[in-house]
Structures are given as C-alpha cells and as structure tokens.
Symmetry: C2
C-alpha cells in the first residue's frame, strides 16, 4: 500500500537523539529520520555513501580537515571511507539516505550504536 509519509509527523514521534528510524525503503536503500543534538562519535562507513538532508535546524558535520555546515534545505553526501562527526549545538532534524546495510556509527561499535527500526 502506497501511503504518504509526513516528515513533521514522523519527527514528532522520535524521542531519542542519534537513533535513526527507517521511514521508507527504495530498493536496497533506506530513508531514515534522525534527531541530533550534541556531539556524535568520529566514524566512517566502509562501503556506504551517506546523504544528510537538514529538514530543521543547522548541522555541523566535522571532517578531518574542515567543518561542513548544513542549513535547513541543504544536503551533502559523505562518501564511503571519509571520517566524519556530526555536531549539533541545537536540535536538528535530518533525513538520511543510505544503503540498508548502513550502521549509524559505521566502523565504530560503542554506546552510540543503534539498530535502526521502522517508525
């Protein structure tokens, strides 16, 4: 059954930071929604490129050589292998687009690691 997904309604259901929820499946890709606040862990993804689209707020993605700032209505693709760390001084709503094999902490396994569940 094809149904509309309302981003604002889905984000309102998310009560935990840094825990991506699956909102859509396109072949072997997932659309995930995540609320971010604070500092994440440095990591990279071995095989997966990762798209960050900012739906609300402003996101800083730290790269090893510079900071990448994304405002509302902007996206960037972090290529596989590139170390990055998302940082959000205020709450940010982000739509992620990535292969369904992607783990949120990439090559790192720590207390931030979350299996993604459907929302």
């Amino acid at each position: 059954m094809v149904e509309p997904v309302n981003l604002a309604e889905k984000f309102a259901l998310i009560d935990e930071y840094w825990s991506p929820r699956i909102a859509g499946e396109i072949n072997d890709f997932h659309v995930k929604l995540v609320k971010l606040k604070g500092e994440f862990v440095w990591h990279h993804h071995e095989q997966e490129d990762e798209l960050f689209l900012v739906v609300r707020g402003t996101l800083c993605i730290q790269l090893r050589d510079r900071d990448l700032w994304l405002r509302e209505g902007e996206f960037a693709v972090i290529p596989r292998g590139v170390e990055h760390r998302p940082v959000a001084s205020e709450e940010v709503h982000v739509l992620l687009l990535e292969p369904d094999t992607t783990v949120n902490t990439g090559n790192v396994q720590d207390e931030h690691t979350r299996p993604a569940q459907w929302i």
Copy 2:
C-alpha cells in the same frame, strides 16, 4: 570534495518541467530535482522503486485505483511495477530518490523521455 547542496538554489536553475536533474550520488542511487507542472505520462519502472519528496507545492500521483496526494514535506515510495502518473495543477518542486538506472518515463519511450543530467 564534499560540498553542501542548497535545494532552493538548485531548483532556481531548472528552467524546464519534467526534466529531472541529478544533484547527488549515493552509491548507485541518484538524488534528482525536478519541477513538475501539468500531466505526465502513465508509466512504471520495471526494477526501480522511486521516492517522491515534495519540497514545494502539492503533487498528485495518480495510481490506477486512486489518487495519492503529497503536500510539502511529504514523501511516498512508488514500488517497482506500479503504474503511476504525476499530475501538478500548479508548479511543484520534487526531490526524487531512485537507482541511477531509472529513466523518467520508465517503460515508456516518448516525447517526455529525458536523460538526466547533473545540475
């Protein structure tokens, strides 16, 4: 080089309806931006699911058994094999997410068919 992509700035560059432009690549997927106005052709995609995210305006995606309405901030995934026809009474800005093999008119080859170019 990882750079931010501003959706509004990219849409401002598009001067043709129904002609998706590639704005990002994530593994073997493309993010495409397209302006829609009027009625498209009925088609389906044999292998590719297709995500429509409405960035501005209201989109009707006709399915064979009903109409699917998407407002700003809403998306839907049309599964492979499902016949659909986008219709927009007013200009709509849509972000598409789909495998890089996707042709805009799917199984149909007609005057609406466009190769997607980078923007």
